[in-house]
């Protein structure tokens, strides 16, 4: 399966010191009320994408994440479950996945299909598969947003993501505008629904001449590993190599099964 990347945007909290909410208000003149950090992060990434590309109102919008709206979940857990208060209406609405997609869609001016989805493993790659299947039918373009928010204490996120206590987690939001059409594309990304065993992936990597980058979940392979942890790191890795106009073979792993993304620069 192959998709073409027409534009992209990236943000990592360790690389840029930005007050996202302030930026939304000041730079993008957006109303941030009744939203929370996860929604702000998603909208911020979408605004950056909008600066880079033409958005069609019928573009399909897919949003994925590793853990979801952690800040509203943590806040409501405190005042609902511990302090025995009732949930506030806007917190209730913000807990629903499509609320984030709604605000992102509204900020981009898209009004077509919108999906908020999570896969336990390979959530970014599985979202690419969904998009490929969908736009094969609809013949539209799609926008994929991958949002991972760090909340404090970040131990909550680490316990849920299944990573060591001393691993550093960061916030990140990354977007790609995707198409089946290669015209004016910056890169093409190839992927598959199939998972590989360790032996199979070693054979693939041995035969490969492209730069290889592993997710931090790949413990049994000996290549360069992506430097920080967040569940949708594949999205950010892809974007950084598009920016460099370089090809990349990205390997992700979960429970001893592997999936790969092949990025080919068209710049």
């Amino acid at each position: 399966m192959k998709l073409y990347i027409k534009s992209y945007s990236s943000y990592r909290s360790d690389k840029e010191d930005i007050d996202v909410k302030k930026e939304l208000k000041k730079r993008y003149k957006l109303d941030t009320r009744r939203q929370d950090g996860f929604i702000h992060l998603g909208v911020f990434g979408a605004q950056r994408l909008k600066e880079e590309s033409q958005i069609d109102k019928h573009d399909e919008l897919y949003i994925t994440t590793g853990i979801g709206n952690i800040d509203v979940l943590q806040r409501t857990h405190l005042y609902v479950c511990k302090e025995k208060n009732s949930i506030k209406p806007y917190d209730f609405i913000n807990m629903l996945g499509n609320t984030t997609s709604y605000y992102i869609a509204a900020s981009l001016g898209v009004c077509g299909k919108t999906i908020f989805q999570i896969s336990d493993n390979f959530t970014f790659i599985n979202s690419l598969i969904s998009i490929y299947a969908s736009i094969n039918q609809s013949k539209k373009d799609a926008i994929l947003g991958s949002i991972d928010l760090v909340n404090y204490p970040d131990e909550v996120i680490k316990r849920v993501l299944g990573i060591d206590e001393d691993v550093e987690v960061i916030s990140s939001v990354n977007y790609q505008k995707l198409s089946l059409c290669s015209k004016n594309a910056l890169a093409e990304v190839e992927f598959d629904a199939k998972t590989h065993s360790l032996d199979e992936i070693k054979a693939i990597l041995n035969d490969n001449n492209t730069k290889i980058l592993l997710s931090m979940r790949c413990n049994n392979l000996d290549y360069e590993t992506y430097d920080k942890f967040f569940e949708t790191a594949a999205s950010c890795a892809i974007n950084s190599y598009i920016k460099k106009a370089q090809d990349l073979l990205y390997v992700d792993c979960f429970e001893d099964k592997y999936k790969i993304l092949r990025l080919k620069s068209l710049s």
Binding site: K82, I87, L96, N98
Partner: protein
């Protein structure tokens, strides 16, 4: 384009399994319970469509319930079929793994030793896929009331694209104190009964539901002809009074299914019985079905099952047709519009083309079109 068929479906509703639910609907003998729901302003003893046997709001019991419904379908698949079956869950339930992690490390008096294992809301799907040898591909979709309806359309895309041979779609909604309190805080709940498209309607009644639907490219009498989903509304909680957003999604569903409005035998509405939503929906129906349409709402039988309503209402509707009738709409005695009145008695019907609508918070709207061949 590969045709997508609906080859199997199972439910667990407040009325029981599929045959128990159809019997309850046929005989209009509906069981309903009550739940205390608390908000800052009030505590209400609200009607609630609960399962006969309680499923507690914890990970193990929820997994057990999803597993049981999935197994009813999976048990009929051989090893090779299972390997080529993807699993998608549509649900709006709260991620209890995060709640557990919060409890384990945020509150000093409840702190536990550090341990971590990867979890997400999709972990139920992953566990089922692992246990029964399904394909590695799993996904969970949360788009509020359209969750499992959207999951079915995603599943259909996978089969159309030749990516998977089969897709098992499961809708899940289990009672949650937090979720029901949220609905109450928004003044959406009725304390009496649901009255879809009735001038005296005053809100919805929540319900628990589980429903599994198997999509395949192998021929079956029922096919999923197409559908459409949009995210288009004037604000996060409501749509425009004229229902323009619903008109768009219905017309696009018809276009994608390659049929015209006159081909529709009957319409399963979303029909929540809320003041605003029913008004928008009936106004939209007037525009799309200018000459009128046979229509009904299922929520008075099973409640509003939020994320599960996609697969649950589809399975119940299909099974009703299989049993020779379109269910009537309960409790609509003072209809909003004379020309657009829901069925007041069950209508004989064995086949046809049907539109099923689902409209949710955050402007997420979905319309699905299915067909049963004349046998």
């Amino acid at each position: 384009m590969t045709k997508v068929y609906i080859s199997d479906y199972e439910v667990l509703s407040s009325q029981g399994d599929l045959s128990q639910t159809i019997d309850a609907i046929k005989n209009k003998n509906i069981k309903i319970s009550k739940k205390i729901i608390t908000t800052d302003i009030q505590t209400i003893d609200a009607p609630y469509f609960l399962f006969k046997d309680e499923i507690k709001e914890n990970k193990d019991e929820i997994y057990g319930a999803i597993r049981d419904i999935a197994l009813k379908i999976i048990s009929k698949l051989d090893v090779d079929e299972r390997k080529s079956t993807a699993l998608i869950i549509g649900t709006a339930i709260v991620d209890l793994n995060i709640a557990h992690a919060i409890e384990s490390c945020v509150y000093e008096d409840e702190r536990t030793e550090y341990s971590s294992k990867k979890y997400s809301i999709d972990s139920y799907a992953k566990a089922i896929a692992n246990e029964f040898g399904l394909n590695d591909f799993t996904m969970s979709i949360n788009t509020a009331c359209t969750s499992s309806a959207n999951a079915m359309l995603e599943g259909a895309n996978f089969i159309n694209g030749g990516i998977f041979e089969k897709v098992l779609v499961i809708g899940v909604e289990i009672y949650s104190a937090m979720m029901s309190s949220g609905f109450s805080a928004m003044n959406l709940l009725s304390l009496e009964s649901q009255k879809p498209f009735d001038n005296n309607r005053d809100g919805l009644i929540l319900g628990e539901g589980l429903a599994a639907v198997l999509l395949t490219k192998q021929y079956a009498p029922w096919s999923l002809m197409g559908g459409f989903c949009n995210c288009n509304s004037i604000n996060i909680t409501s749509v425009s009074e004229d229902g323009g957003e619903y008109v768009e999604v219905m017309r696009n569903a018809l276009k994608n299914a390659n049929i015209s409005v006159k081909d529709i035998t009957a319409l399963k509405t979303h029909g929540t019985s809320t003041i605003a939503s029913d008004l928008s929906e009936i106004n939209a129906m007037k525009v799309v079905f200018e000459s009128g349409v046979v229509f009904s709402a299922l929520k008075p039988y099973i409640g509003h099952t939020i994320g599960a309503c996609g697969t649950l209402e589809l399975a119940i509707f299909l099974s009703s047709i299989d049993n020779g009738f379109i269910p009537s709409t309960l409790s609509c005695s003072n209809p909003m519009l004379k020309k657009y009145t829901p069925l007041s008695t069950h209508k004989e019907c064995n086949n046809g083309v049907f539109m099923l609508n689902y409209f949710g918070f955050g402007g997420n709207n979905t319309s699905v079109i299915v067909k049963k061949e004349q046998v």
